[in-house]
Structures are given as C-alpha cells and as structure tokens.
C-alpha cells in the first residue's frame, strides 16, 4: 500500500526526494509551456479550461474525497467566485452601463485581478462557514441534500439579485484577465494545499472520521471541526477557480452554474478516484481530452474507404458509457485511494519496501 498518510519507512537519498517532487511539477508545467509556445488558440483554450477543471475537481476532492461526506453544492461557490470577482474587477465606466442599478458602494470599486479573485474567494469562504456550521453536523446523505439545496438557493439569489447579476440574463463585461500561467499557478497552489493538509495530523483526523466516525469520536476527533477546515478551504479554492473561469469565458448566466456543471465535475472526480490527488488530475485530464476528441469525431469523418456521417450528441453518449464502465470495472475510480508514487520511479528498493508495508 502506498496510500495516503503512509510515509516510506526508509528515508530516500535527497536527490530522489527532489526528483520525486520535481517530476510531477515538470509534467504539469509542460501544459502551460506548450500553451505559451506552440499551441494553437484552440489548444490553448482546452489547456486553460483543463487547468480550471483540475482546480475544481481537486478542491471538491479536498472535501468530498477526504472527509467522505458528499457535497453537491460546490458549484454554488464557483458561481459566487465568478460573479463576485467579475463585479469587483469591472472598470467603473463599464459598470455604469452594464450594471446601472449597482449600489453606490460597489459601483465605485475597481480592483485588480488578484485582489478581486481573493476577495471573491474569501466571500465564498465566509459563506461556507455560515452554512457549514449547521450542515456539517449532519451525516452522510443528509449533507448531500443540504448542500444541494445550497446550490438551489445560490441560483435563486443570483436570478433575483438583478442589480448585481443582471438576473438570469447574461452577465457580460468581465475583464479578460485569466491567462494560462495564472491558472496553472493556482493549480499548483491547490495541489500543494491538498497535499499538505492530507499529510498533516489534521488530514489524518479527516481520514479517520471518514473511515469510522464513531471510532474517530472515541479517540477525541472533533468531527465538525475536521470537516469545517476542508469545507471552507475547498469553498475558497472553488470560488477562485470560478473567478478564473469567469475572467476567461467573460459572459455567463446562472444557468452555467447548475446541475450540468455539478455533474461534470463529479464525473471527473469519480473517474479519477475519490480520495486521490493524482487521481483527480488524471481523471480530469482524461475526461477533458476524451470529450474534445469525441466532439471532433461526432462531426463525421472520412476514412478513405468509409464515410462516417455526423452524429451530434454521440460524444455525450460515449462519455456516459465510459463513465458507467468505470463504475462497473473500477468502482473506486482509476486510482482509487492511492497516489501515483513518483518515488518509485527513482528507486527499485523503494518498491519492495512499499509492498512490505
């Protein structure tokens, strides 16, 4: 088992540790590097959206995967981030035209990119604390239902807060700030946070109450507190991802933050493996690449000997089939609870040591 929370018994020499940490970082940085030098505009788009998806899946995993309670409401935080940051960063002159009914204290505000996404993230974190206090006391399925109703509430608020959001009409005029480097910097931050939390005593407590709530309580784990930190953190990171998405897509409406998006993120999470950081990344990359490829294929193609006609909607059907296959053949997801162990790449001895654990 090279599961989370287990540390290799033998200390590897320093260069191996460095290499083991550097390899995934290098692999990940290939994406923004390629996007900057050599990718077409379309490939750039895919790489940027992929990065944002990785962030969304990872931060959902930080809560769902590691605490074992299922949140269906994270897209609500994403919406708060997207709208919040867009309103804060929109130039004052544009606000006067696009959002004429905005209250005076907001109409005069124009923050830079980083301050506005951080503020939007903090807003989501505060909301997470408020709803977390009652909701996280619940167990299992009740959390899923309660967070789902949070999502519904966010949608209703967005639709009715017309002076701020233009209601259900398209919100536009978001400054185009998001670049591939911003996105991947945040991806790294998200991975780092998830990694550190998991390997802290706090993370162990999270896993303990996931595996056996009663036993965890018996050894003095405060269940509410151990759930609260990942919940608030993942709300923050989800909102930041939402803000990055907003500053990239530029015009959106409350419809973008509802069931379709919720299930898209959950699919990536489940395919990759709940409870695994590398699983989240692998699952997201796979699903995004597969969707894009299938989307290309469903337009029909010519193989020289056969002409395949366009079959729009085929990509959705094939994705569903792939998803069901994963559920049947690898119920725990591609990586399950385990991580890709880069240490192994650099040491034969380590592998045997791992097996003996």
């Amino acid at each position: 088992m090279d599961g989370i929370g287990t540390r290799p018994e033998t200390k590897a020499p320093d260069w191996r540790r460095v290499a083991a940490i550097a390899t995934p970082l290098l692999l990940l940085s290939l994406l923004p590097l390629y996007a900057t030098f050599g990718a077409s505009a379309y490939e750039q788009r895919v790489i940027i959206v992929l990065g944002i998806d990785i962030m969304l899946v990872l931060s959902l995993n930080l809560f769902n995967g590691f605490t074992g309670v299922f949140s269906l409401g994270h897209v609500g935080f994403m919406a708060l981030g997207a709208y919040g940051s867009a309103i804060l960063s929109m130039p004052v002159a544009h606000k006067a035209i696009n959002l004429p009914e905005l209250p005076a204290w907001l109409a005069g505000v124009e923050l830079g990119f980083l301050p506005s996404i951080l503020t939007a993230g903090l807003l989501a974190a505060v909301v997470a604390v408020v709803i977390g206090l009652p909701v996280l006391r619940l167990s299992g399925h009740y959390v899923a239902v309660a967070t789902l109703s949070f999502l519904v509430i966010v949608r209703v608020v967005l639709i009715n807060a017309t002076p701020f959001t233009r209601g259900s009409r398209t919100f536009f005029g978001t400054p185009a700030y998001t670049s591939v480097w911003w996105v991947y910097a945040w991806v790294l931050i998200t991975i780092y946070i998830a990694w550190r939390i998991l390997r802290s005593p706090y993370g162990r407590a999270m896993l303990a109450q996931r595996e056996d709530r009663v036993a965890a309580l018996a050894v003095g784990v405060n269940v509410l507190r151990t759930r609260m930190l990942p919940f608030v953190l993942s709300a923050f990171l989800t909102a930041v991802a939402g803000a990055l998405w907003g500053h990239y897509i530029l015009s959106f409406s409350p419809n973008a933050f509802y069931f379709t998006e919720t299930f898209a993120i959950i699919t990536m999470l489940v395919v990759g493996g709940m409870g695994s950081i590398s699983g989240s990344v692998v699952g997201t990359v796979l699903i995004v690449l597969l969707t894009e490829t299938l989307r290309e294929l469903e337009r029909g193609f010519d193989l020289g000997f056969v002409q395949v006609p366009p079959l729009y909607g085929l990509s959705q059907i094939l994705m569903a089939v792939a998803f069901i296959s994963v559920l049947i053949f690898r119920r725990e997801g591609l990586l399950g609870n385990t991580e890709i162990n880069f240490m192994r790449l650099f040491s034969k001895r380590e592998r045997t040591a791992d097996k003996n654990e």
């Binding site: 009409r169 398209t170 897509i249 015009s251 597969l290 290309e296 337009r299 909607g313 591609l334």
Partner: protein, 389 residues
C-alpha cells in the same frame, strides 16, 4: 493493467482518427456554422441549422460563389458556454472560416460574438433577438432577425388599435429574451397612452400559474388584452390554464409563441391568441417565398418546417454568401462592410436592410392570429416608433 492499456490505446486511436478527420483541404469558401445542435436550445437551433444547410445546397447547385464552392463547417455548441467558446475558436483558428453564422439565443451569441470580434470575423446570429447585441459585442456582430424592441412595439401598437388601452402583463423573469420583450412592450405601451392594470412575473419552467391567475380574476374589471412574455416551452401551458380559468380575452405575445406546442398543448383554448414573429410558416396561407421554402425543406429533411427559425437560418446563410460575393474578398472587414451595404435583400422571413449604424435589420413583423387551432395571418406591420435598445 490490461484495462489501463486498453483505455490508453482507445484514447490514442480516437486521437489519430480525430486528426484524420480534420485533414481535408480544398479551394472553397468556408463559412462557420455554430449551433447548439444538442442540449436545451436544440429545438430552435436544429431547424436553424437545417435551414442553413438547405441554403448551402441551393447555393452550390447554382454554382457556388465567385467560381468557388461554398462549405458550411458545422460545429455543435452543446448549449454550454465553454463549448460555445471552444467551437468558435476552432472555427476561426483551425477551420479558417471567413465568417460565422449561428445560434438562436443571446447567451450563446454573447459567448461567441466577442471572439469573432477580436479575430475580425463577421458573426451573424440566426435567431438571437436582443437589439443590444451589436452594442455589446462590436461592429462585427449582426442580427438576422428583428430586435425585440421592434416586435414588442408592433405587439403594443396592434393590441392598442384592435383591443384597447388597458392591459395585463405577465413575464418570465428567467431569460434575457422574455425580460427584454416585456420591458420594450411596457415602454411602447405607455407611450401609446395605455395603462397596465396589473403586472406579474413567473420563473422559467414554472408549470402552475394558478397564483397569477387568481390575481387576474380578482381584478374589478378585466383588461382589454393580456400580454404574456413567455418561452416556447411554457406558452402552451400558460394559455391553457388562463382559458380554463375562464379568461377569454385576447392574449398577445412575441416570437416565443411560434412553436407547434402552442396549439398542441392548449388545443382549442389557443384561439384568440396573437403573436409577433418572423414569418407565417404556413404552406397554404404563407407568402410565395415561404411556400417555396417549406416545400424545399420538406423534400430535403422529410418533415415539415418546425418554426420560423428554419427560415431565419436559411436567410442568414444566403445573406452571408451574398455578402462574400459582393465583397469580392476574403477580408473580414470587407465582408462586414458588404453586410452593412445590404439593401432590400429578399429573405423568407422578411426583407433585410442594414447600414453601418444599424446591425439589427429594419424588418417588417408578422402578426399571427390563432383561429380554429391554426396560425393565420393577422397583419404585416412596421412599427410607427421603436423603443431605444
């Protein structure tokens, strides 16, 4: 391990196929077709896309344009803003299209428009009716249909002339289209000296209108007519419930009513309903252009025209090809100039006129009256005054 290898193999194979698929080249005039062929908007976008395909076939049968065949590169936006942005980029970058046509809603048009604007490629929306789009996006953005301000003005003028000066207004606050339509109606109606006896709202997807109906019933005196700004999915249910509650006065609305659902769901109750739309899609009573189009559509796709969006898609495709012909160049700016210079272009859904300052065509509006479960021509009108976008 075997499963993993299998999966990897599949992905690679699919990727190779994808590259094969995109490896096609020929000397053609390439036009991008960006439509939501799947998802919630497909009931409007598929007819529009079919209309465009039909126009393409006719254009190529007539020898293409400037001695070249025309190619319509169709991509599916899946009613998802991120995918809409992706396919627009692909059309511009990978397919190198001269111009893009498509979409029937302003959400998608707003996602695609700015990308076209940045690339300097003209974008004509086949069905989005928000007159604010050109101001929001820029000088590469054009509308094929009239703006909501125009149809709302016609609705108000027609109703005041024929029914009277007191009205009830109900609108769906869930979509851009129904919100704008209700807004413009209110403006024009007030100018005409009308009074709203009651204004009420509902949310897209509501199926029960008993609360709204109870308020109408409790009015001391019923208004001369009822203006309901609704989406195609809701309108049948709304009209049916109003009629069942004993409200018999004329119901007036916009092009969202232009769906077979109105008569299918409401049945005989749909009588005495009036709505503004792009053209009367009726094989018996329509204009000669409509009859010809309907026959060709049926021959091509094997079923009747679903709604006026098919005609709009057809017009849009013909308009862009005509503009490319007149521009005589592949330059986006020149094509946009040619669209702006369009005067008296005969479309199935009305004559098209543009200018540098008007990227929303000045078009006549068709008023349809539902009688005996059938759409009949109520009036062909140009509004006397149009509210500012």
């Amino acid at each position: 391990m075997k499963t993993k290898a299998l999966m990897l193999g599949t992905v690679l194979a699919l990727g190779a196929l994808g590259t094969l698929a995109s490896a096609q080249a020929a000397e053609t005039i390439k036009i991008g077709g960006a439509f939501n062929l799947t998802g919630e908007l497909s009931s409007l976008d598929v007819p529009a896309a079919n209309g465009a395909k039909l126009a393409l076939k006719e254009i190529n049968a007539a020898g293409g344009v400037n001695g070249k065949k025309v190619e319509l590169i169709m991509r599916d936006g899946k009613t998802d803003p991120a995918t809409v942005a992706n396919i627009t980029t692909q059309l511009i970058e990978s397919d190198k299209v001269l111009a893009i046509i498509g979409f029937t809603d302003s959400d998608s048009a707003l996602a695609a428009g700015p990308l076209c604007q940045r690339a300097g490629i003209p974008f004509i929306t086949a069905g989005a009716t928000s007159p604010k789009l050109p101001a929001q996006v820029g000088n590469m953005m054009f509308l094929a249909p009239f703006g909501d301000n125009v149809q709302a003005a016609v609705g108000a003028e027609f109703a005041v002339k024929n029914f009277g000066k007191s009205a009830y207004l109900l609108w769906d606050k869930g979509t851009e289209y129904t919100t704008l339509l209700a807004d413009y109606f209110k403006k024009r109606f007030a100018e005409l000296g009308g009074t709203l006896v009651l204004e009420d709202t509902y949310q897209f997807g509501d199926k029960d209108f008993s609360a709204q109906i109870a308020k109408v019933k409790s009015l001391p005196k019923q208004p001369d007519f009822y203006y309901i700004s609704a989406m195609p999915d809701d309108i049948g249910t709304t009209v049916k419930q109003f009629r069942e509650a004993g409200i018999t006065g004329p119901i007036v609305g916009g092009d969202g009513y232009d769906t077979p659902l109105l008569v299918q769901v409401a049945g005989a109750a749909a009588d005495n309903t009036y709505f503004t739309t792009h053209a009367l899609m009726d094989a018996d009573n329509g204009s000669p252009a409509v009859k010809k189009f309907m026959a060709a559509y049926k021959a091509e796709f094997g079923h009747e025209v679903e709604n006026a969006f098919a005609a709009l898609g057809y017009d849009t495709m013909r308009l862009i090809v005509d503009a490319v012909r007149r521009a005589g160049s592949n330059d986006g700016k020149a094509i946009a100039k040619a669209i702006e210079a369009t005067q008296g272009f005969p479309g199935v859904a009305g004559e098209l006129n543009y200018s540098a300052s008007a990227h929303v065509p000045r078009k006549g509006v068709t008023m349809i009256a539902v009688k005996g479960g059938k759409f009949t021509l109520g009036a062909e009108m140009v509004p006397e005054k149009v509210p500012a976008p």
